[in-house]
Each structure stands twice: as structure tokens, then as C-alpha cells.
């Protein structure tokens, strides 16, 4: 299916957010996620099914003021 990850189009086979993140190289990273503007906790990623056209945000720590 075709999804958007941080606004970039990605083709994934994965059915869940957890599997998709692993496939994209995010496994084991310190990240937080949202799907279609809603926060998805790490514990909820394996149970979060993805659909064609979903917009996923993946964020990590960065410098801030």
C-alpha cells in the first residue's frame, strides 16, 4: 500500500504501524509517532493497522529552546 511518512510517499507491505516502522529502519530507535494527526503510543503501534493513504509522522529528539 502507499502511505506518507513525514510527507514522503512510501510503498509498504506492512499491515501495522509497528511492522512498517521496522521495515523503514526505525526499529529500536527513540521515536514518537502519529497517524493522521493522532498520537499513537509505542505500545499501540503493533495494534495500529495502516490503510492506503495514511499519513504517518515519525519524530525524534532534537535541539530546542
Amino acid at each position: 500500500m502507499r502511505i506518507f511518512v513525514n510527507d514522503e510517499v512510501r510503498e509498504v507491505d506492512a499491515g501495522t504501524l509497528a511492522v512498517a516502522l521496522d521495515a523503514m529502519g526505525f526499529g529500536g530507535r527513540k521515536i514518537a509517532t502519529a497517524v493522521n494527526g493522532r498520537f499513537v503510543a509505542a505500545t499501540a503501534r503493533p495494534g495500529t493497522k495502516l490503510a492506503d493513504g495514511d499519513r504517518i509522522e515519525v519524530v525524534a529528539p532534537m535541539q530546542g529552546g
Binding site: 513525514n6 494527526g37 519524530v59 529528539p61 532534537m62 535541539q63 529552546g65
Partner: protein
Amino acid sequence: MSFYGVELGSRLLLGTSRYPSPAVLGEAIKASKAEVVTVSLRRESGSERAGQTFWSLVRALGVRVLPNTAGCHSVKEAVTTAHMARELFDTTWIKLEVIGESDTLQPDVFGLVEAARILSEDGFEVFPYTTEDLVVADRLVEAGCRVLMPWGAPIGSARGLNNVYGLKSLRAHFPDIPLVVDAGLGVPSHAAAAMELGYDAVLLNTAVAEAGDPVAMARAFALAVEAGRTAYLAQPLEPRDMAAPSTPVIGKAALGD
């Protein structure tokens, strides 16, 4: 001084952005003696590890982090960002920014109050980046905020305390709420001035990060914060219009015509 029950020895909170290098950032944090640093979150791709490297650096410094919602312009965006930050940084603290105007980065105080209420009810401990407006401050406290962070001046402007009267009023109105001047400080004397008003702490970033020597400037701010706090406790004089001779005139020799 404590924020939400957490005792802190340093009254200087430091941002982690815009330093010339990670090494300088680390040294500046040490020189500032800050125990709390602000952090943020941004998109990361599967192939880059910038965020992971930054996090390792902060962890190694052993400081407490205060994540922000910088760049958020709506309540929804700020609330979702806060949830992501809580999980990412494993803290209920959130520096809540809801920006209302792009040129001044002035807070959208209406959205701020709404977001503060939503987050407080959800167990967050909110540090709202606000203006010095008393009524907004009242609403933020009603919404559950137990720390207030009024701006000194627009973020990154280095203008210091734009509205000393307003900041003094806020201090007088909220004697028991920790007040932090956040943003707009340019030089250590600005920080000292905030502390002399009785503010509990200051939060700054650019003034240190973009100084010619950030590590020396971090040390200078630490000294200024300590000097300002000590001066406040020592009860400074109120300014007056007329001169008052410091040398006693009684007993002065009569030498005139």
C-alpha cells in the same frame, strides 16, 4: 525553588538549540550550571540518526529535560506534540507554546489556555510560554498551570525586559506561583534584572548559543542570575526622583563665606 514538586538548585534554564557544535553545547550547559534544559522533537528519517545522537549527548549530561511544543500554531498540533514528547522524553513536563503571530512569535494566549487545560487534565505538568498579561495568567492557573513563563521580549530578539511594569505586576499578583522569564534576553544584565524583580528563574537559549564564546556567556549568565537573586533577597532600594546625600551633612565643617 521547585517546579511541580521538583527541587532545583539552579535558577537558570537553558535551551539546547543553535550552538556551533554538540561539544560547545555540552560545555555551555556545564558552565551555566543549568539543571533543566529545553529540548524539542522533529521529523527523522529511517536513514539518519541525528535525533538519536543528540539524545545520547543530553542523557550523558545528566540534566532534566523540558520538552517544548515550539512551532505549533494550533491547539491540536500542540496537544499532539505534547503527547509525543511525553512518551519520547519520559516526562510529564511540557513547555507549552502555541504561537499566534509569526513575526513576533507572540503566544496565541487563547489557544494556550485551551491547550493548557486539556494537557493539565491529562496529567501533564504545563510550563506555558505566555505574555505578561495578568488575566491570561489567571486563566492559565485556573487551567492547572503551577508555573508561568512570561516572555521578556520576542524569542531570539535579545531586547531584554520589554515591559518591566507588567512583569512586576505579575510577580505581585502571583506571589506563590514560580515565575520564569522565558525568551528575549540578550545579555546577563537582562537576566539579573529579571531576578531582581523577584522572578524565580530565567530561561534563555540564543543569547548563549549565538554568543561569540557560548561557554563564557553561559558562565556570565549563571553569575548574573545568582547576583540578581541575591540582590532581590537583599531588598534593593526603590528608585526616587530627588537626590539623597549618602554622606551625612550633619557636622560638616562650615567653610563657606
